[in-house]
Every structure is written in structure tokens, then in C-alpha cells.
Symmetry: C2
Subunit: 333 residues, 2 copies
């Protein structure tokens, strides 16, 4: 578990998109953020106070989070001086980059000398069990996608926020590196060894109060040839009581697979629900989350109406409209 609050390291981010991890943390857990640290030439800004290491420590920051991704996902040499100083001043470091903090011998040495920790959230930290399939208390909802990267994480975070705003018991359960950095905890599922995938999801979503909802972050798609096994492990480890279908309507083909068309939402429902009912016979599909970012307002609203009519389910874009209707649907279960 990564200690909060964070100072967000934006480094020399060449544009705003390069800081999307920092932006995600700032959007979803502003209470975990004391400020941002930007080096000379940084072109990103996540709209929190600019702060040096000293000031951030004084404000209570415990961890410097690398919230920037450069080409290749490497730890830039131009960041190193600041990272060393952070360790010396008592910060832990956390990163979701492909290149690992633990592979940088100089950082490892400084961390050791100062008793600090390096968190590479792409690397599993836990020896996960093999799944046992036993029914757990509490409730779980999982977004399943027609494709990868259609807004499953956003949907789960938005529904979790809405439930907490209503005073309901709710936890977002991260299964990818951005989600883990947002919350400080989770399972980097795509890096878990095959035999332990479903067990890792069981571990992540343990017994809970009967009226508590886990919002399990989805991964991949049952229809995506490269990653479908991860998606099924999430369904069978997660024992969802509710599924939300997630879709992005303007894609020409499956992400990274030019020969594959996207399935229909009906095909996704008819594939995912029977698989979920193997582990939870009471599972229901409660709604559709559509990423309408590429559509104008009128087009988006009429598309959502059409989906709602065709599927007989509430359909909403949680970014455009909030997650209220999806949470209403969940509360009805």
C-alpha cells in the first residue's frame, strides 16, 4: 500500500496528455494530492499548487508519484536529481512506468540509505492464491467492454464516487497501474501469472458488509483475442452481482486488431452474463456506459436513447452526464 498524500511529479512533460496519470489522480482523489512538482520546460498542468519538495513535506506529502509518461516509459535521467533529493528528504517513490524504479541501481541505493520504499505498480507485490470460487459477502459490480479502453475504469471510478457522495458503502478496486496509483492499492492484473489471475481478483475483493459495493476495474474484453483471458479471470474471480456494459461507438475495429469488428452490445450481454452466472447465478446486467467523447451533444443523447430502447437498460455517458443513473440501476438490484 502506497502512503498518501502524494506530491505529483510532472517532470518535463511535453504536453498535457503525458501527465494523464497525474490528471487521473487529481480528478479522482484530490484529497490524496498536496501539489504538483514541475521541472523546467514542463508543458502540463493538473491545476494543483506548484510545490517544491520541502513545501510538500511540510504539507504532509509522503510519496512522490511519477505522474508523467514519456515515450518508451523510461525513467528519464533529467528527473534523477529531483528523485534522489526526494528520497533523501523522506519521500517514497511510486511509478507505473514500463521501466522500473527497482532497476535503477542509483535510486535503489539512495532509497536503501534513507530507508525509503520504491513502488513499481506494474509489478505484483503479493503472492496471490489460486481462486477458490467460494461465495463472498458484500456486492460487486464489474464493467465489461465491447473492446479494450472503452471507459471501464472511468465508469467504475465515477460510480464509486457517486455512491460515496450518496453516503453509500463503496470501494473502487484497481486492477491496472493508473487505478493503483489513484487509490494507492490494487492488483496489476495484466502482470499476474496465469494460474493466479482469478485468485488475485478474489484477494482484491474480499468479504464485506452486505450493503457494500466493490467497483472492480475491468480489463480487456471477452471479444479481444489478445486479452480475453484476463477479462474472464476478472469475471470469475470477481463474482459480480452486477455487470455494466461499456462501449465506445465510433471505432472502426477492435483496438490493435484491424481484422476484428466490435461486437454488438447484445452480443456482449449474451456472452458475459452466462459466464458470470457460473460463479454468481444472481448476476444481472444493470446498465450501459457509453463513451460519447467523439460525438456532439445531440448525437450523443440520441445515441444513448437508441441504446436504452434497444437494450432495455439505462444507458449513460458518466463523463458527460455523471454516473447517477447507473448507480440508481445498481441500487435497484
Amino acid at each position: 500500500m502506497i502512503e498518501t498524500p502524494y506530491l505529483l511529479f510532472l517532470g518535463d512533460a511535453p504536453d498535457q496528455l503525458a501527465a494523464k496519470v497525474a490528471q487521473g489522480i487529481r480528478d479522482w482523489r484530490p484529497e490524496n494530492v498536496v501539489g504538483q512538482l514541475r521541472l523546467q520546460g514542463c508543458k502540463a498542468d493538473v491545476k494543483v499548487p506548484d510545490m517544491g519538495l520541502d513545501a510538500a513535506r511540510a504539507a504532509g506529502a509522503k510519496t512522490l508519484v511519477i505522474g508523467v509518461a514519456n515515450r518508451g516509459g523510461v525513467i528519464s535521467e533529467t528527473w534523477k536529481a529531483e528523485l534522489h533529493t526526494a528520497l533523501e528528504q523522506g519521500f517514497d517513490l511510486a511509478s507505473g512506468l514500463h521501466s522500473l524504479l527497482r532497476d535503477e541501481a542509483d535510486l535503489v541505493a539512495t532509497a536503501k540509505a534513507h530507508g525509503r520504499q520504491l513502488f513499481d505498480v506494474r509489478v505484483p507485490q503479493v503472492k496471490y492464491p489460486i481462486a477458490n470460487g467460494k461465495k463472498r459477502s458484500g456486492k460487486r459490480v464489474l464493467a465489461v467492454g465491447t473492446d479494450c479502453s472503452v471507459g471501464k475504469m472511468y465508469t467504475a471510478l465515477a460510480m464509486d464516487r457517486e455512491m460515496r457522495a450518496r453516503g453509500l458503502k463503496s470501494t473502487f478496486r484497481a486492477t491496472g497501474q493508473t487505478g493503483i496509483l489513484v487509490t494507492g492499492d490494487g492488483v496489476p492484473l495484466d502482470a499476474v501469472v496465469a494460474d493466479f489471475m482469478a485468485g488475485a481478483v478474489e484477494w482484491l475483493t474480499p468479504d464485506n458488509d452486505a450493503d457494500h459495493w466493490d467497483h472492480v476495474e475491468g480489463q480487456g474484453s471477452l471479444f479481444h483475442a489478445s486479452f480475453s483471458g484476463v477479462s474472464l479471470a476478472l469475471i470469475h474471480g470477481g463474482q459480480p452481482d452486477a455487470l455494466v456494459l461499456a462501449h465506445e461507438p465510433v471505432r472502426a475495429h477492435m483496438r490493435g486488431l484491424p481484422d476484428y469488428a466490435l461486437p454488438s452490445l447484445a452480443a456482449l450481454r449474451d456472452t458475459a452474463l452466462p459466464l458470470a452466472r457460473i460463479v454468481n447465478p444472481a448476476c444481472r446486467v444493470v446498465g450501459v456506459s457509453v463513451n460519447t467523447a467523439a460525438m456532439g451533444e445531440d448525437e450523443a443523447l440520441s445515441y444513448l436513447e437508441k441504446v436504452e430502447r434497444e437494450m432495455g437498460l439505462p444507458a449513460a455517458d458518466p463523463f458527460r452526464q455523471g454516473a447517477g443513473r447507473l448507480v440508481d440501476a445498481l441500487e435497484g438490484t
Copy 2:
């Protein structure tokens, strides 16, 4: 790739079952075996010539395969003297045990001193790609099970042997440690990192002659909560042209999951086939392979007749009856 032929090391196996890996190699690839090496107290016998290291080397053996599993899957200290001598005499060592040869510092040192290799077939040796889903030439058949350990590997090995006996182009593709030791090559799929599972199966079953069949060894079950993700990765990486349904009819519940009943063969067909058609729209279910070991002859034959009638598919027990009818069904595709 492990060099053949092998000398099979049975150690001090306490009973015949403890030598089942050696038995599998001897049954399926007798041409890869020069003999067996048994220590004092060994209670197993796979019916090949008893042979010391010197004689086995003289007979051409290249690798000493640990064909015995003891409780806990460890490399016994009582085996060590013989293993060291084998390395000194020019054998490589291969093992599918949970404990790894590479973690035994003394064996590593001896192997290094004599330029020999240690093969731990549970550990992936290759940096597998992410699956690309591209259509490959040649044909592939995969057994999918109602449960784990219902005879999927046996079915694939038996069909491969039958096809080769008929002079057809056929390769068994191992995805588990026993299969890898049998053939000397394969992918230990349950130990592959999640993101690369389907890519590992694509790597294992590359382009081939149009009339060549890969018999891909199945793993897990789509209905098994612990391992279903591995099964789906096999389907989506393997792009099967044909599925064989594998079943063991006398189980009270799913293996290791007392709360889960086995699915019907019809449910397995209706779940697996649409998932396979995502990557190969021409995929068909061609037959049913039933492990009737727990039934008498009459009971087995009448059960197989019933399955055949209900499913409208050839049903056979390849151990009891041979794989001829399943191969006939495959050739009809």
C-alpha cells in the same frame, strides 16, 4: 528445446503413480526413451531397460529427465549424487517439479562447470509476444473440458498419434509440464504472465501447411472459476478450426471447487463454440472425448451411445477405444 533421447530418472518413487510423468513419456514417445534409472527402494517401473548413466550415455541419451514427483514437488537430497554425476558425464537435466533445478545452487554450479543445461519446464523460457489475432495457415484442434483433468492432454496425444499412424501431417503442441517433457518443447501456459497468454499460444501454433493439424493441449475449463482465463486464452490464441468436448462423467463437483457442479456437454458446447468463433468463424465442434475409466465396459459403451445420440456427435473414449473415430470426425472438416 530439450535434447532427446532421454534417460528417465525414477529415483526412489514410493509407488507407480509417483512416476506418472515418466510413464507419460514412455507411453507417448517411446522413441525418445533409452531406459530408466531407479535408485534403491524405487517402487515404480515404466517397463523400459534399467540402465546406469554410463550405459545410457553409450546408448545415446542426452538428457536425464526427472520423471518422478514426490510429496511437495521438491528435488530430493537423496537424488543429488546421481544428478551431479549425470551433469559431470554430459547429461542435461530436465524437470517439471514445483521446486526448480535452477534454485539448487550445487546443481547450478556443477552444470556450469560442465557446460550442461538445466531445464525447468514450469518456467517460461521465451519472451512471448502479445497476441495479434491474425489468421494463420494450417489447422488446429483443441479439446475443451467440462472440468480440469478430464483427459484433454490424453485426447490430443491420442489423436496426434492416430493421425501420424495414418500418414497425416500432425503435431502435438504441449501447454503443460508433462506434455512439454513428453515432446521436449512447448509453453508452460499456467506460468505465463496474463498479458502474454494468448500470444504464447499463437507462438506455439504458427503458420503451417494447409493440411497440417496442430493438436493443442487444453488447460483448465471455461467453467472452472480458478483457471477459466487460461482456457479462454487457449481458445483465442489457438484459433481452433475444431473443438473436441472432453468430459469425465462420474464427478460429484468441479475439481477443487466443492460448491460447483459440472456443466452439461451441451452447455460446454454452447459456451465454447461462440467464443472460438470470435477468432475463427469456421470453427466446429467435431466430437466428444469421454474418460470412462471409472465405468465397466457395458456401462461405458452405453454411456457413449447416449452422449452420441444426445449431442449428435461422435463420442469415444480414446483410452478404451482409440482415437480413430475422433480423427475420422476431424478429417471430415
